[in-house]
Symmetry: C2
Subunit: 510 residues, 2 copies
């Protein structure tokens, strides 16, 4: 039932849709034949946005604060490792690439590259397979299906733009149940503008998708899902709220040049058959091209990069992210506070004023002389309108501030994913420095050194392209959210002004 709600127009085969999306790009993708052991450990999810200030320190230079954060973070990661490995085992899919640990016995590497291995085997750089990508030369067992390209423009490296943009609508949240009503859940319809296919998805499907994408696109911050709610998750307000954040989520995925072409996303978006859904899920979970290996799916310009310049650019990006992290948090708190005030004391002040004016009107009514009848009527109307304006404050909070808060929530979560990207890049850069030193000392061959340099360049290209995209998106995001918020608030205050002006006229003519 969950998979059967395809529209009449949804006869489009999902595979056709996927091919269509892929054909959007002139897929001059380089296919790496290398394979390496990849640990299927997901990044700490970007959804965890509520905590403390995002940390942009490198893995290599942990200060005391970082140590503290890492200890709690690594606990999470370990749990995630257990779960993921457990998953693979229970699925009976213990493939070499996913179950093997990244120990030295599996990699045929030279003395130099072995020495370059990070001591911290729990760092994101190692776990994600990025170290393996940079240092090893083993072959991949399959061919990558997704292909992406980074091009050079006058603004620097960029992801090749989406040729045919599309959108998705998350709508019609609906309480459904299975096991004869024993289990109930909310299902949302997700409809893509390109295929017209409508699928029905639950939060747990989004959550699974988020996990897959976070694992696969190490250098791309994945927007956050709505926070997992247990209590009151069938309340109308909360359902609407989650729907809005899911909508922002799919908007962001659709706009991203890489994510919008993601295999797992396309599967999520188009699969209406339960059997196909399950097999597609298994396939995505076995994907070799995740983490560091995703870079095998990316064609980068041949031109080598100036590592000092790249480091400088990434450092600048880091500063922007740190600063934004603070300001978005402050803004979020302030809008939350304003929301509370509008629905609370502001509303009640208008309504207490309404009661005071109604009291005057009542006193006026005691005088039965006809002289003051129009003033009495004007007072009563004023009391009525003031009460209404009070209610409008609460409505405005919901209508004008909730969407702003949802956007800020999403942006906050996106920012929380950026330090991972920066830190992985910093680790790659430190491997590059080490490679240069070992190369000078003659401890790695020049072919090997060149291969490592080019692999680190691929990492840098991806990071630079993503930075460029995030800069651009940020402008667009804030343009949209501030524009919409201000427009709605303008209409709100304009409405109050107009209502008060009408009341003033009432008294003038009384």
């Amino acid at each position: 039932m969950l998979f059967a709600r395809a529209r009449s127009s949804s006869s489009v085969d999902p595979e056709t849709f996927r091919l269509h999306i892929c054909s959007l790009h002139d897929a001059r993708t380089s296919v790496h034949d290398d394979a390496s052991a990849v640990q299927s450990i997901t990044r700490s999810q970007s959804r965890a946005t509520s905590g403390s200030r995002t940390d942009l320190s490198t893995d290599e230079e942990p200060d005391s604060k970082v140590k503290h954060q890492q200890s709690s973070r690594s606990a999470k990661v370990k749990k995630s490792v257990r779960e993921t490995l457990g998953n693979a085992a229970s699925a009976g899919q213990g493939t070499v690439s996913r179950s093997r640990s990244a120990g030295p016995e599996t990699i045929a590497a030279k003395q130099g590259t072995i020495r370059m291995k990070n001591i911290n085997r729990f760092s994101n750089f190692v776990k994600s397979g990025m170290e393996a990508f940079v240092l090893s030369s083993t072959k991949m067992t399959t061919k990558p299906e997704e292909r992406h390209e980074i091009i050079l423009t006058d603004k620097g490296p960029e992801w090749r733009a989406i040729t045919q943009p599309y959108t998705c609508i998350v709508d019609k949240p609906k309480k459904e149940s299975k096991l004869k009503g024993l289990k109930s859940f909310i299902a949302y319809s997700v409809t893509s503008s390109l295929s017209g296919i409508q699928v029905s998805r639950r939060y747990k499907h989004f959550d699974w998708l988020h996990e897959q994408m976070s694992a696969k696109y190490l250098l791309i911050p994945i927007p956050p899902l709505p926070e997992k709610q247990v209590a009151g998750r069938y309340e109308e307000d909360l359902i609407e709220h989650r729907k809005n954040i899911l909508q922002i989520w799919v908007n962001k995925v659709c706009r991203h040049p890489v994510l919008s072409k993601s295999d797992v996303w396309i599967h999520f978006l188009t699969c209406t058959d339960e059997k196909q859904w399950k097999s597609g899920k298994r396939k995505a979970e076995k994907d070799e091209y995740i983490g560091g290996n995703f870079l095998h799916c990316v064609t980068v310009p041949a031109q080598s990069l100036d590592s000092n310049r790249v480091e400088h650019q990434v450092e600048g990006f880091s500063r922007v992210v740190r600063s934004l992290d603070d300001s978005v948090r402050v803004m979020y708190d302030r809008v939350t506070e304003t929301h509370k005030r509008m629905a609370g004391p502001y509303r009640s002040n208008w309504q207490k004023m309404a009661a005071a004016i109604a009291g005057l009107g009542h006193s006026f009514e005691l005088d039965s002389s006809p002289t003051n009848q129009s003033v009495t009527a004007a007072l009563k109307e004023t009391a009525h309108i003031f009460h209404k304006i009070g209610d409008e404050h609460e409505e405005s909070a919901k209508r004008d501030l909730d969407p702003l808060l949802d956007c800020l929530y999403s942006y906050k979560g996106l920012l929380a994913g950026m330090p991972d990207m920066v830190n992985v890049h910093k680790s790659a850069m430190s491997k590059l420095r080490e490679n240069e030193r070992l190369s000078m000392e003659g401890k790695v061959s020049s072919a090997e050194a060149e291969r490592i340099r080019s692999r680190v360049d691929a990492v840098s290209y991806a990071v630079l392209a993503e930075m460029e995209f995030q800069h651009r998106e940020r402008g667009e995001d804030f343009k949209q959210m501030m524009g919409a918020y201000l427009e709605k608030q303008a209409a709100f205050y304009d409405g109050i002004g107009k209502q008060l002006a009408a009341l003033a006229t009432l008294f003038k003519n009384a």
Copy 2:
């Protein structure tokens, strides 16, 4: 110097102005030749508005609450008696009418009327000379100068309307000093539209005038002066505030058909010569036609009144006054609270929001890429405008709410004077009942009984006329104050709406 600031056009002789005002009315005033001993005790000033709920109980039926209030009130009155008597003595003007007590030895009255005397010699009814007016038949020593008339319209008894309305402007509060700077004070210019004469008056002059008018016009509530301030009375805000309340005060006096023709008011309004001022003051202080005797200046319709109907009407008025007293107090408190909020948390919320948006703008600025420059500029402008809107909340509180508060303050003070009028009338009505009883028992002559009935009718006519005026004024007052307040607030919210709309456009075009 205080009296020398007449405009060039102020060559109009004050006496001419007075005659002019008097000629506004077709002075068919009945002149009573009766005279009685009048105690020159002023009513507890209506300015004392801050206290507890106005008490409308009669003098005759004091409940426990009334007793409590009266004890504190009578202390005030006693003080006032001492002061006034002291004044008269020090002025060497111990005239019979003012210095003599209202003891029975001064009045040639029959057994019946003596018996009718109130036991409570401190009641307003007795002190003001109203009892003497109703019961005695002694002659007045002088002829009344002011003449007023009550006419019958289809709405009932009314004060004859002002034929040629005029206005007064209180302006230019200015710090002045005398005794070579030893004493400093604020002087206001008061300019009448009818004569164009501009006089300079201090608060203490208004206070003196208020006292005289309160004593003279027992059945007319006198609007309150601004509260006496000692600390900070030279601060600009306070001076402006007092000026505004003084302006409301003179407006109300100018609009009143009796007060606007008052001798003492005309003297206050026109006298620019210090000698004349002092002699006019002495003359006003010696005025015999104050309190109960004021009714000798009033022509009332010959038609006798239905006492039951009058009592019912006054009771209705009482109810309105009691109810208004509560509602105006609630309204005053609510507007005061709103004032505080607008200048406090509302303002600060806009400005904290401004700071949050400025923070976003700052973070955007760290990214030196030109892509987001227009969004950065829009954020900075938004922060600037939000801060400005915050300040506008404080300005709006001052501009829109202060005048409303001043009007409510004045109205509250006016209401506080109304129970006096009602209570005096109730005492007069109880004298009427007693008179009827004694008359039936043959204890007063029918001529005497008729005289008393007609005197009580005069009191009723004055009260009914004043009630009619206060009903009408109330409508006008609230029409004006609510209209002005709503119009200004409408403009305020409209302004916010317009500014936000302009910002929204800025983001749309970014």
